[in-house]
């Protein structure tokens, strides 16, 4: 058993050190002998045992004696711990690949591959009066009327809903990734602006009014608003100049923005957005499955097209 334990550990250490690589080879030889029911006559197990016990003996005689007497049992215990920790480590890698977090979908907590938790970070939505704070498990599109929002209909079986905010850093990070997915996959795409930053309500109205005049112009407006300096977002003059550049009739636009019906529609949209249980942006729903935070491209792609999305 010790040979197996040594082989596993030394193989990993061998990645970094040549001397451990040699020991790993010896351990492998020992393992191969054991699995073919031959005695491990390489002396490897005895050698390693002697080194370990000798090392401990320099510090504690009783500990050395204990290790020497219970070496096989300790090897077993080590193997079990190693197997368990390996399972969790491999699961963490799998989760990171599939969900962008070692801890699972929308789960926060330390992840070695994403130590700052960037893939789960959101700009927090305004607190709502609820007994328990909302969590990712509460996110749903169940009572949301998606027809209220601008969308690209590709007659696809897949639907991706992007709840983002022009002024939020994490939404701005996620936006180009989402649009790349829209380009690469034939997915029905729904965009909902959720203005959780101050002074960004005007942007919602602008989006709605542009959509009313030219639905295609909205996507161009999005490209600009998600990438422009954030200071521009609170400047109506900038917005107006931008929509004019997109071919939108300014007087009509201005009239629409001032129209209480537009404001009511936007409020209605926001009410529906809050029905999702959203607690921060960006939040993306792919076929109803919520993904909170700006995930890497592969995470969205896997949700859309499976683990081997790159083959499709």
């Amino acid at each position: 058993m010790f040979c197996i334990a040594s082989f596993l550990v030394l193989s990993i250490l061998g990645i970094f050190s040549a001397s451990n690589r040699q020991l790993a080879r010896e351990a492998l030889d020992c393992v191969l002998r054991r699995v073919t029911f031959r005695p491990c006559n390489t002396g490897f197990d005895q050698k390693m045992k002697a080194k370990l016990v000798g090392g401990v003996l320099t510090r504690s005689e009783s500990a050395a004696s204990f290790i020497n007497k219970n070496f096989e049992i300790l090897s077993w215990i080590f193997i079990v711990f190693f197997a368990v920790s390996s399972f969790f480590a491999l699961r963490g890698i799998y989760y990171y690949y599939v969900y962008g977090s070692c801890n699972g979908l929308n789960q926060t907590g330390f992840c070695a591959f994403d130590p700052k938790g960037q893939n789960n970070a959101v700009s927090a939505a305004p607190l709502q009066c609820k007994e328990n704070p909302p969590t990712a498990a509460d996110l749903t599109l169940k009572d949301v009327d998606l027809s209220l929002f601008p969308q690209i209909n590709n007659d696809s079986k897949d639907t991706m809903v992007f709840l983002g905010c022009y002024a939020c850093d994490y939404s701005r990070k996620a936006y180009p990734v989402i649009m790349k997915l829209v380009d690469n996959f034939p997915v029905n795409f729904v965009f909902a602006h959720y203005p959780i930053k101050e002074n960004s309500d005007y942007n919602s109205l602008a989006g709605e009014c542009v959509t009313q005049q030219d639905p295609q112009a909205l996507w161009k407006l999005n490209d600009i608003l998600f990438s422009t300096e954030k200071t521009n977002l609170s400047d109506p003059t900038f917005i107006q100049k931008t929509v004019v550049d997109l071919g939108v009739d300014l007087p009509t636009f201005l009239k629409c923005v001032e129209d209480p019906a537009t404001e009511a529609k936007v409020k209605n949209q926001i009410t529906d957005i809050t029905k999702t249980g959203i607690f921060g942006t960006p939040t993306v729903f792919i076929n109803g499955k919520p993904l909170v935070g700006p995930k890497p491209y592969r995470v969205y792609a896997i949700s859309l097209a499976g683990l081997f999305y790159w083959l499709k």
Binding site: G43, Q46, K47, K49, A50, K51, V53, G54, G55, L57, T58, E61, A64, S65, N68
Partner: protein, 403 residues
């Protein structure tokens, strides 16, 4: 013996590992080298790294002179009749192989060896048996490690062409009574080859007094460089031997169909030799003579007695060979009941930088015939001290409490 001044000559003994000094008790495997030997080897490569006996430039002349000077010193060291009786080899093993291949054995000839020979003095004869059809006679030794001389005399018969024995055993340190054995062999018309790898570093050897026919030893066990050894042979016998390895420097001339070999030692020294090793070996001989064999023997006995007597008192320890430490030379070879020999050796090294050897010490035949897995061998030399023996004993006592 106040050996501190000698210890200062050995760079390794000035070093530490993990903050502790090195206790080198593996001298039967190879000894440490004094600075003078290291400098001699270094000197060849730095100042005169040229060929011997081939070229006519100054460097070649210098190195030729240095190598021949080493040969002369070795001849004098062994009390050989002439320096041409000294053949440089790689080591003892090559010396024995040279005799095994060059000797004019016939099918049915017998070679006698003891039952505790190093593989170097066993395998060459096994191969000769397969190649020529000789027979190998095994002379038994007693539980005290001493050769059964009565049995030996009984085994001598006209078919015995060669008696090949380890002069001092690397297993238990016992030195055979060479003169007596050689006389009996010669009386029988047999020649004698002594594997003196464990003898030459520890005792004065007079090949003429012994009347030994061949004697092989290695540089690395006598503070010389590794990769150099010597085969001594009586000149008349060397002249009769066919060369083992042939090629450059072994012949006076050659044609497309024939050649004429040079006389010994050249005909046995084919190809470019280990000149640095030869020069270093000469320096090792000088150093050995400066220390003196009386002092070496005295120190070894002191240490062996101190170590052996204390080990013998320990309940699980069994020492191979005679109880009298004076008969064990520098070797204390022992087993620890219910403990793995390799584990003990590695732990000695891990805990206190004590270098010993564990295993079957290339005497597999002896161990296997007795069903012994292996042993721990501490082999001492004059530069070791009683303080080191104390470190060994203290560490060993800790270890056997654990294993």
């Amino acid at each position: 013996m106040n050996n501190q001044s000698f210890r200062d000559d050995f760079p390794v003994l000035q070093e530490e590992r993990k903050g502790k000094p090195i206790v080198y008790f593996d001298n039967a495997c190879q000894t440490l080298r004094p600075a003078s030997v290291i400098e001699a080897v270094d000197g060849y490569y730095r100042h005169s790294s040229a060929c011997v006996g081939r070229s006519n430039h100054k460097l070649a002349e210098e190195v030729t002179r240095a190598c021949e000077d080493s040969r002369s010193r070795l001849a004098k060291f062994l009390h050989a009749a002439k320096k041409e009786e000294i053949i440089f080899t790689r080591n003892t093993t090559e010396g024995i192989n040279l005799v095994a291949h060059s000797f004019d054995f016939k099918k049915g000839d017998v070679v006698l060896i003891s039952d505790k020979e190093h593989n170097s003095n066993l395998i060459p004869w096994q191969m000769t048996a397969k190649r020529v059809g000789i027979e190998i006679g095994i002379i038994p030794t007693g539980s005290d490690g001493l050769l059964d001389l009565d049995e030996y005399r009984k085994m001598l018969n006209p078919r015995v062409k060669l008696v090949s024995l380890g002069m001092t055993s690397n297993l238990d340190g016992v030195t055979i009574s060479g003169r007596e054995i050689i006389q009996a062999a010669h009386k029988n018309g047999s020649l004698v080859l002594l594997d003196a790898a464990q003898s030459v570093p520890h005792m004065s050897i007079d090949v003429r007094l012994l009347d030994v026919d061949f004697l092989a030893f290695s540089g690395h066990k006598m503070m010389g460089p590794s990769g150099i050894g010597v085969l001594y042979g009586k000149y008349a016998l060397l002249e009769k031997l066919e060369p083992f390895l042939v090629g450059g420097e072994t012949v006076a001339y050659s044609t497309y169909s024939d050649c004429h070999f040079l006389p010994p030692p050249e005909k046995f020294e084919a190809g470019l030799q280990n000149y640095a090793g030869i020069i270093g070996l000469g320096a090792a001989v000088d150093y050995l003579q400066r220390v003196g064999f009386d002092a070496i023997r005295k120190q070894e006995q002191l240490l062996n007695s101190a170590l052996g007597s204390r080990l013998a008192e320990m309940p699980r320890v069994k020492i191979f060979g005679p109880a009298d430490a004076a008969l064990r030379g520098g070797i204390v070879n022992f087993t620890v009941e219910k403990a793995d020999h390799h584990q003990v050796a590695i732990m000695l090294d891990q805990v206190a930088n004590i270098a010993v050897r564990s295993g079957q010490h290339c005497v597999h035949s002896w161990f296997n015939s007795r069903g012994i897995a292996g042993s721990v061998r501490a082999s001492l030399y004059f530069y070791n001290t009683l303080a080191e023996v104390e470190i060994f004993l203290e560490t060993f006592q800790k270890i056997i409490k654990v294993v």
